[in-house]
């Protein structure tokens, strides 16, 4: 269907138009949203149409452009929509449209207003092209493109050194992951000879037994491929150990945090794993690595979120943690559950971020929760929507987060072997999750006001253009979960995505094992509720308790507050040596060798010229002498030759 092409092209057109307006002429300035917002909603409309069409009629395929033809290698750019892509399209366009709307209020008066919307359009375009790819090349290209847009948008307020540094950090850390990703793609090409999903999925299993020797070690080819591809996901989805960029990315405007670093770009990694699950499932070793990484990340990030004082950082670490859940699910073979959680998370995490943005906007830039409190009466809409988001995140039924998180936990438990371990990690993390999010709510909205008197005077609820998206997302946070009810016949998610993501029936319909289902559900709900109540105790009933605990266990507290010193470690081990090496290389190679060579040529030419100049003495007899010497030489040669 050709209207499919409009889905990514509308936001791209918005980018081009706004961009050109800035380039030629005075630009659109504060009217830029008149172009961007309709484009975003138009894209949403066409995504809905495409979704309905794919659900009823099957996948769409719309090749746009043949990009590369080299020997037997062909790669084209096109739009391929199947069930997985269709739900991703919905997610991306809905959140993008709401964020567009929200930004009209949040970014009002900003100097880079038009630039913001232009890059928003570019990002939306790139993300949409990423999910509609039908070959690894398009995937990779737009993978990089969303990374670029992330860089541009994090550094929106580029005069701030912290923002510029954060953007660079994001880009560089992603690069590390992308390096592995690229190697993985190269390896795929070498093994299969094509980058199209269909051919790769069909041909790669034939290489299942192959072994490749890397640096003296023998590795299974398919394991190597899967691990390399996973590196890309580790970078993009901020898993351990490449998670360090995501909290810093909070330097960007809050709508960006909501769109890119909660709902869409960071989920590209999870999407990639799900999309390429036929590759991953060829290697049990790789799947274990994926699951372990996800689980570790989930727990690890939750421990950090417990002590953070910047409200956006709490939500950022929460995102890392929830991404860990999704990755773990994919690694355990339950990618349907992973994607389900991706969808619900997109709704409530975006909601939480936009809610933070609303609070920040109301407090004229304050982000430290130690300076907040008692805001629930002043910011009612923000409060209620935030509360709903928190409930969803904590996994309290019947909100969305409960169904998706529970699905993951159940699958983990049932996946046998070490599955119980993963399940335990998931439950522990759920407890921590509930704790930190309600800590946030109580600190920000409840209790006595610790506001700075100046800001306290101007606190006001956000304008409708900001609160309407909040309400919409709150509704979604409640309802989206019902699409995946674990009751046979009512599980829409399973019906839509199951055949795609769990081929070969590796997904035992959970609905059939009711006996285990209810107790497990009960345990996860209990974990969430106890986390909530603990937070209530700590922050509402006995607010002095956290201080006492922090002073009693200072090492643990500091470990959590300082993000387990990861940044410091990287700085010491990687950043500084690299800088020193670069400095040394610059000095010896560039300055002393190349510059010397170039300058040397000039210097020597001048010196030579200075010497040669002596020949032109102006003295007739010098010239005559030289002529005679020449004659002498000629005669000598003549005599010798004769």
């Amino acid at each position: 269907m050709t209207t499919d092409a409009l889905i990514p092209l509308l936001p791209f057109a918005a980018f081009v138009v706004i961009g050109l307006g800035d380039l030629f002429g005075r630009g659109f300035g504060s009217r830029a949203h008149w172009i961007a917002v309709p484009a975003a909603f138009g894209s949403l409309l066409f995504s809905l149409i495409a979704f309905g069409s794919v659900l009823s009629g099957g996948p769409h395929d719309l090749p746009l452009y043949t990009w590369a033809v080299s020997g037997s290698f062909r790669a084209s750019i096109g739009i391929h929509i199947d069930a997985l892509t269709a739900v991703m399209l919905l997610l991306v366009t809905i959140v993008s449209a709401l964020v567009h709307l929200y930004s009209v209020g949040y970014m009002r008066g900003d100097r880079g207003y038009a630039r913001f919307f232009a890059y928003l359009g570019l990002f939306t375009f790139s993300m949409l092209m990423l999910v509609t790819a039908s070959n690894l090349l398009q995937l990779y290209v737009f993978w990089e493109a969303v990374g670029l847009c992330s860089y541009l948008l994090i550094a929106h307020w580029y005069e701030r050194p912290a923002a510029a540094a954060a953007a660079t950090k994001a880009f560089l850390v992603n690069r590390v992951g992308d390096f592995g990703f690229a190697l993985g793609i190269f390896l795929v090409f070498r093994l299969v000879g094509s980058l199209d999903y269909d051919r790769v999925f069909a041909e790669l299993p034939k290489h299942a037994g192959e072994v490749i020797t890397v640096a003296g070690f023998d590795v299974q080819a398919v394991t190597l491929v899967a691990l390399l591809l996973f590196m890309g996901a580790v970078g993009k989805s901020a898993q351990l150990p490449l998670h360090v960029w995501l909290p810093d990315a909070m330097e960007g405007p809050t709508p960006i945090s909501a769109l890119i670093h909660a709902a869409t770009m960071v989920t590209a990694g999870v999407f990639m794993i799900a999309r390429l699950i036929p590759i991953f499932s060829l290697s049990a070793a790789a799947m274990s690595v994926v699951a372990a990484t996800g689980a570790a990340t989930a727990l690890f990030a939750a421990t950090i979120a417990l002590t953070q004082n910047d409200i956006k950082r709490v939500v950022a670490y929460s995102t890392v943690s929830q991404l860990g859940y999704m990755v773990m699910a994919c690694g355990l073979g339950a990618s349907t559950a992973g994607i389900f959680h991706l969808l619900t998370h997109g709704a409530f995490k975006a909601l939480l971020f936009l809610g933070c943005g609303s609070v920040i906007h109301a407090l004229a830039g304050e982000q430290d929760l130690r300076k907040m409190g008692g805001l629930k009466s002043r910011l009612p809409v923000t409060y209620w929507t935030f509360y709903i988001g928190a409930l969803a995140l904590a996994g309290i039924p019947p909100l969305a987060g409960f169904f998706s998180k529970d699905e993951i936990l159940v699958r983990a438990f049932l996946s046998g072997g070490a599955g119980i371990l993963f399940w335990g990690v998931g439950v522990a993390t759920a407890f921590l999750t509930a704790f930190y999010i309600f800590r946030l709510i109580y600190a920000v909205f409840h209790g006595a006001s610790r506001l700075d008197p100046k800001t306290a005077a101007s606190v006001h609820e956000s304008p409708p253009v900001m609160t309407v998206p909040l309400v919409v997302l709150a509704v979604l946070s409640v309802t989206v979960g019902w699409a995946g009810l674990p009751i046979q016949g009512l599980n829409g998610i399973e019906a839509v995505l199951g055949p795609l993501l769990s081929p070969g029936g590796s997904s035992e319909p959970v609905s059939g094992q009711a006996s285990l289902l209810l107790p497990l559900m009960g345990i996860s709900v209990a974990a969430a509720l106890s986390g909530w109540m603990t937070a209530r105790y700590f922050y509402l009933t006995r607010p002095e308790l956290p201080e006492r605990l922090a002073t009693r266990a200072p090492a643990l507290y500091r470990l959590s507050l300082n993000k387990w010193y990861f940044d410091e470690l990287y700085d010491r081990v990687i950043v500084r040596p690299t800088r020193r090496l670069a400095d040394r290389l610059w000095r010896t190679v560039d300055v002393h060798t190349i510059d010397e060579a170039v300058n040397g040529v000039g210097r020597e030419t001048l010196a030579g010229a200075r010497i040669l100049r002596l020949i032109q003495s102006g003295q007739l007899q010098h010239y005559a002498l030289v002529m005679m010497v020449g004659t002498f030489v000629i005669l000598t040669v003549y005599l010798i030759v004769q």
Partner: protein, 168 residues
């Protein structure tokens, strides 16, 4: 007989030539050159070229040298103090080339191809007449060109030496 005369003439020519180059005063150099011209004329007579000998004396000794002496007197030149700084190098080069020239000449086959017994003068029907015939027949064009050269030289000299021409 001719050998004796040759030796005398050759010796004097070399000595006076050295005198031209070595004399401190320009006047001495010019006079030394004059003597050399006479001896060269003598050598020419020895080689049965009487006309050339006469022309040598008339033109070189009588005109060119006189011109030199005019200029020397006109400019009232004193003698110079020393030779050029490169005189050692110059002498060395001269000597070196001389040795090489000797080698070249001795190696070349002059003796084989040239009869050492030249024909008597009579077969040349008089030197003057011979040269005159050659000049006005075979070498007519170069002869006319030579006269043009002389004309141009005269004009050139007048213009160059005229007072007030280049005094700006």
């Amino acid at each position: 007989m001719t050998t004796v005369l040759f030796s005398y003439f050759a010796g004097m020519i070399v000595l006076t030539a050295a005198g031209v180059v070595a004399s401190r005063k320009p006047v001495n150099s010019a006079l030394s050159l004059l003597v050399m011209f006479f001896h060269v004329a003598g050598l020419f007579v020895l080689l049965d070229a009487e006309f050339i000998a006469a022309v040598q004396i008339i033109v070189y000794a009588g005109a060119i040298l006189v011109l030199y002496l005019f200029v020397v007197m006109l400019l009232n030149l004193r003698g110079e103090e020393s030779y050029h700084t490169q005189y050692l190098v110059g002498l060395t080069i001269g000597l070196a080339i001389l040795i090489e020239a000797v080698l070249v000449v001795s190696r070349s086959g002059f003796a084989d191809r040239v009869p050492s017994d030249p024909a008597p003068a009579a077969s040349l029907a008089g030197n003057t007449e011979g040269i005159g015939r050659a000049l006005y027949t075979t070498y007519l064009f170069p002869f006319e060109v030579a006269s043009m050269i002389l004309l141009l030289a005269m004009i050139g000299a007048i213009i160059l030496a005229k007072k007030g021409m280049f005094d700006r």
